[in-house]
Symmetry: C2
Subunit: 273 residues, 2 copies
């Protein structure tokens, strides 16, 4: 374990069930690939950063893997920002990116909490190939693993509604079993939300990560030269778009352009395929 990621693992602004979930996911992922992952070499002002007025702060955790690992890198992050309306925005996320020796899906987990009673969850194994052209992959990674049952289970809670990202690109990269939900609970200060996180989001997120670890990251896949070039191209477009659409617009707004540029430059190095 890399203790230079300690700032990342503090999760100082989130509730106990959410912190426990994040720590469990990070530790499961890091333990499973302990021998593959290299220590973080992020500069300290990228591991932890804030805006000039200290109303927004964040931590970033990136661990690349050695060249023969199916993993390219894992990326964890938390962002906390005071809202002008009072209250705060907290985003915690964890992703696992595979390299082009393996054509299985990546792992994405993100919780966006804009109030104690409102949370958006994105939990998905986004495909790295066009599933229309590769229906066998749809079967292997999404049907045979019964991924959809976790989305269905969540859907039964009355507080849970499907979430449609305003970015069509983010919808486009999602898998057909993507869990993209908005959870809105009654005005009880967040008590019911903590219960939902503990009793539902926690087990479901762990089960989806476990499917990714067992059936994707550790899958023995034959990837030929041509397919490898295809994966590199598609991965590269997705990563660039992720920076452009997701980070590139929100980071400067939250942290100012100087801090945002510093962090984005570092992220781009890892995102280059």
């Amino acid at each position: 374990m890399d203790d230079r990621g300690s700032k990342f693992k503090e999760f100082p602004f989130v509730s106990i069930p959410q912190k426990k979930l994040m720590l469990d996911l990070v530790s499961t992922l890091e333990k499973r690939f302990e021998s593959d992952l290299l220590p973080s070499t992020l500069p300290s002002n990228v591991q932890y950063y804030q805006n000039p007025t200290s109303t927004a702060q964040a931590s970033l955790h990136i661990r690349p893997a050695h060249a023969h690992s199916p993993i390219d890198f894992i990326l964890g992050s938390w962002v906390h920002s005071d809202l002008p309306t009072g209250g705060s925005l907290d985003i915690t996320s964890l992703s696992g990116y595979l390299n082009s020796s393996n054509d299985a899906p990546n792992f994405v987990f993100e919780m966006i909490r804009s109030s104690p009673t409102m949370l958006v969850l994105i939990l998905d194994l986004p495909p790295r190939k066009d599933l229309v052209l590769w229906p066998d992959d749809l079967k292997t990674f999404y049907e045979d693993t019964q991924l959809d049952k976790h989305r269905k289970a969540l859907e039964t809670l009355p507080e849970v509604q499907p979430y449609f990202s305003s970015s069509l690109y983010i919808r486009t990269v999602a898998s057909p079993t993507a869990i993209m939900v908005r959870i809105q609970t009654e005005n009880d200060g967040g008590e019911r939300m903590e219960e939902i996180i503990r009793d539902h989001l926690d087990p479901i997120s762990k089960q989806v990560l476990s499917i990714w670890l067992d059936h994707c990251a550790c899958a023995k896949r034959e990837v030929g030269e041509e397919e490898r070039a295809y994966l590199k191209k598609r991965d590269s477009i997705i990563r660039n778009k992720t920076i452009e659409i997701d980070l590139g617009s929100s980071f400067p707004r939250l942290f100012g352009s100087e801090v945002a540029n510093r962090v984005l430059e570092v992220i781009k190095e890892y995102f280059s395929v």
Copy 2:
């Protein structure tokens, strides 16, 4: 206009607003491509067919286009089946398929009504290229045309819920702005449903068809040899899967294997790329 499609245009089992919507869509589409479309040459026992006990009946309408049209063919259909529980199932659908000289999306409209108070609507311009690899197409066909506002408008009705097809393949071929909704109204014999069809589904469906006609079917697109081969391959997979998953399983159940095979053999001829 081809009067051999008259049986198709009767829509004998659906309500007045739904019949009006279907007739308007068919007539808009046929008028716009009047000079491109060839008359239907379907055998009469495929234009209209039923199961041996007459509890299920259906009509099919296919008009291919001449070789230089951007349209490959249009396909309309209605299916009516008595349900063992009483009541009936009615499916009305209309699709427009482009050929490989044009890389724009297809058009799909389908209403599945399993009771007076329950309706599933699928209304989409399914992409024919992987939108992850062609983000410019995402912009041209989906963002610039503001397709998503129609999905959003429908979402504001309390009776409307997102619909997730049990087939992951059907989800996979959908566009990021696909309207896939389940509409459930109160037990008023269907009065509110007819109001929703007339006031909401009717104008929205016509606007989406109009976007398809203006910005997709009539778009001037440069399609090179390599891209044409790609389109043919992807179109062919989708069409085969549509027969396998959608028609191939429901037709034999509804009409018995003899009738289903007769109809599917004819559809397959048009679906071959």
